[in-house]
Assembly symmetry: C2
Homo-oligomer: 475 residues x 2
């Protein structure tokens, strides 16, 4: 069979939030939806580069409840509603996520080939990826658990490595996998590079569904048993119960490092895991002093830096090997050698319950987005954008009043029993305890400035009476 004709089911793992990309990533705005490399999010780019080899109907995204809505929006905005979203009740590492996703194949396709992709990696050479997918699919169909190995270009200590074993063909296009090595020290990474035959573990895998289940039954029997139970009884309660019992182990560790039938396919495709801010130095053009500058940056004499200004002016003088990331509510300044430690910083922000670790001043919503622009005792000011044809829920606030000034577009506003059209430069007042709804019935974006007043202004003072987006009644 021609390998390009083998149907492939794709599973995208999108459970983490990429703490190392704070302050651009937040727990409610994870790295996979960040638009770091152009106008598409990492997730959208991940789907895009698989099309049409893997069509939306054969794709699934595995994520958690707190990100599901956001991921739905990301897919919906590209008209990829055929992509299925699987919600894990809690994070149980990649073995569980891959297992859950395998159920996606269902009975009718349990021996089909399935490919697993991280949601937040960068791949420059799409043709290289697609070619490797065909090759990988052929080996997967032949019964191998296939991993993509990236030929290393530097002695990177932040990645895992796979050593190649004996060749599987005569062209050197696939090997049996040898040892898996966790992030090595620099000296060892240098040895790997000079010795040859070692690859970075890309986190991209292919296998037949039945081969996967067979491997689970042998190396992770607990997981296997629970997956069979879930296949028999696919409801939310079972899923939650199953997840409580699942072992938390990575797919590499739990399966690949133990199995006999593992293949590694070397793939050159301009891959980067975009693991820390340090990655930008690889991915973006550099100036004559080896700086990457993005946004409104004014530099004098810095060298080897990564300077990222999201909207405000960032001025730098005489820095070396420094990362500066400026967002509307938080600024990070970090030595490049310590980019990994952003993770610890975010842990500390979380511990101190700082809102800057949770969300941006701009919050995406199914109907558009809002930006908190000002606040003080007794008031908050937001800019609200409602996309064409969208509406907010019919809602009531117990404590706050709202003043809306339409600054562009036209709104359809419900206040109590009155419905009226409010044009640009007009305003309306919504008293507390009054049902109201904001709607954009036009084909142009609607933008309003909302001034909230009252003694209690938190987001949870909301009761949703009707909603297009099936959100909970409160918050």
């Amino acid at each position: 069979m021609d390998a390009s004709a083998i149907p492939i089911y794709g599973v995208i793992l999108a459970g983490g939030w990429g703490t190392r990309f704070w302050p651009l990533s937040r727990s409610q705005y994870p790295k996979q939806v960040v638009r770091l490399l152009g106008s598409e999010s990492m997730l959208q780019a991940t789907v895009e580069r698989l099309l049409p080899r893997i069509p939306p109907e054969r794709l699934a995204v595995v994520t958690n409840a707190s990100q599901a809505e956001l991921i739905h929006q990301e897919l919906h905005s590209k008209n990829w509603d055929g992509v299925r979203i699987w919600i894990e009740p809690e994070g149980r590492n990649t073995a569980a996520a891959v297992g859950l996703a395998a159920l996606f194949l269902g009975k009718e396709a349990e021996d089909a080939v399935m490919a697993v992709f991280p949601a937040d990696h960068f791949i420059q050479d799409r043709a290289g990826l697609l070619q490797a997918l065909d090759l990988g699919a052929a080996w997967a169909q032949a019964g191998y658990l296939v991993t993509f190995g990236i030929p290393p270009s530097r002695p990177e200590t932040g990645y895992g490595y796979i050593k190649q074993g004996p060749p599987l063909d005569e062209l050197g296009r696939a090997y049996r996998a040898g040892r898996f090595i966790e992030k090595p020290r620099l000296a060892r990474a240098r040895e790997f590079l000079s010795e040859g035959g070692y690859y970075w573990n890309s986190g991209i895998f292919l296998f037949r569904g039945d081969v996967l289940m067979e491997a689970f039954s042998r190396y992770l029997p607990d997981l296997h048993r629970e997956l069979l139970r879930l296949r028999a009884e696919d409801d939310e309660a079972t899923l939650e119960e199953v997840y409580r019992n699942l072992p938390s182990i990575s797919f590499d560790h739990g399966v690949l490092e133990k199995a006999e039938n593992v293949a590694v396919v070397p793939v050159e495709m301009g891959w980067n895991d975009v693991g820390t801010w340090e990655a930008l130095h690889e991915l973006f053009p550099r100036d004559e002093r080896n700086n990457v500058t993005i946004g409104r940056v004014m530099d004098q004499g810095s060298r080897d830096c990564i300077l990222f200004a999201q909207n405000r002016l960032v001025a730098t003088i005489g820095l070396e090997r420094t990362i500066v990331v400026d967002t509307p509510d938080a600024t990070l300044v970090c030595h490049r050698d310590r980019a990994q430690e952003v993770k610890d910083l975010v842990t500390e922000l979380h511990r101190q319950q700082m809102v800057e670790s949770v969300q941006h001043t701009t919050v995406e919503r199914p109907w558009g987005r809002y930006t908190l622009t000002d606040e003080g005792p007794g008031f908050k000011v937001k800019r609200i954008v409602v996309d064409p044809g969208k509406k907010l829920s019919l809602q009531v606030h117990q404590h706050r009043a709202e003043h809306w000034v339409v600054v562009s577009g036209t709104a359809r506003v419900t206040i109590g029993r009155d419905i009226s059209m409010v044009a640009s430069n007009q305003s309306v007042y919504i008293p507390p305890q009054t049902p109201h709804r904001l709607e954009n019935p036009t084909v142009e974006p609607l933008q309003i400035v909302e001034v909230q007043t009252g003694g209690y202004l938190e987001e949870d003072d909301i009761q949703r009476l009707e909603d297009d987006y099936w959100r909970p009644d409160r918050a």
Copy 2:
């Protein structure tokens, strides 16, 4: 005569804007009004520490037109309306400013003692200053041009030095001045320190008015002639004409370095010229890793840094000898050894006409202040604070409409011929081309959120029909 009984007239030079303190200082918010060291501005602290030795009625501030209103507010808010403000038509360095200020003595006090102070220095030991003023006044009265010399504590290369000559008394409390040395190289500065008898030039001078004029007549005859002309004809046109003719030279260079009768009084008073961000490392407490942190800073392992967060969160990891200054619209990150170069950066910002070099998002006004909190095509949002008892001008805008939502306090609002009281949580609409006025008739601060809409939203779309603050009709 008891030196403490010698009347002293004080002149504060407040013409510059302290570019090296950008982004905290701006051309319309100069360093002397910055609240860097507590709740008082540098200028207010400068006046405060002279009281009551030099009362407001014997004090003058020399400044330029663009800063005059701001300086008036600074003095007025402390009830120091007795302080006279002299406005130079254009900057002509310190010799001209001192000369202009000397006219302040007038005919009746032309032989009185006058002291000159920079507006933006820090002096920790007020008692030390006042004691030195008495001593200096005595030598000034005796006919000397007196300078205060600071015994150096380190080989500073950023200051000018004065070498002491023969002692003037037997207690070593005053010397004839020897050579003046401009900012030396490090090796020389080290020699000065080990050799002894060298002082930092503090920029504080004392002299009798007639002694000063005599020195001008000898060393700067052009300046002397123009000052006499101005004394005869004290009007604005003459002042402007005179200033066009004045030489631009420093008082040190033009007079002190040449005159015979110069004395230096050594003064230990915890002096710091607060010349660059580097000064904060001297003036503020340091943590166990020798960092100065001010504001909402979260640091991991940085050393020897100055980290200043005005309102947003600043997170830092592993920095060394780095200055971070974060303001609402601009962030500076600079190596400490290059703090002087902030000046060049600001020159470049000015050349590129970036608003961040001119003003803050919060702009002080005689009636209070406003903060630009959001803007986009066709709209601007401001938070406006009107101080108790104050009112804005009665004004008209040709192009923009305004929506005002009162978020705290009570406003008296004039729209056309209607005057009404607008309470918290109420709003009003001001159509274009309609005379209107905002006023706070209460004893509590008034705070409103203003949403401007229209095709043209610049500050110069204003016509002032009546104003409490004698401002121009437009802009």
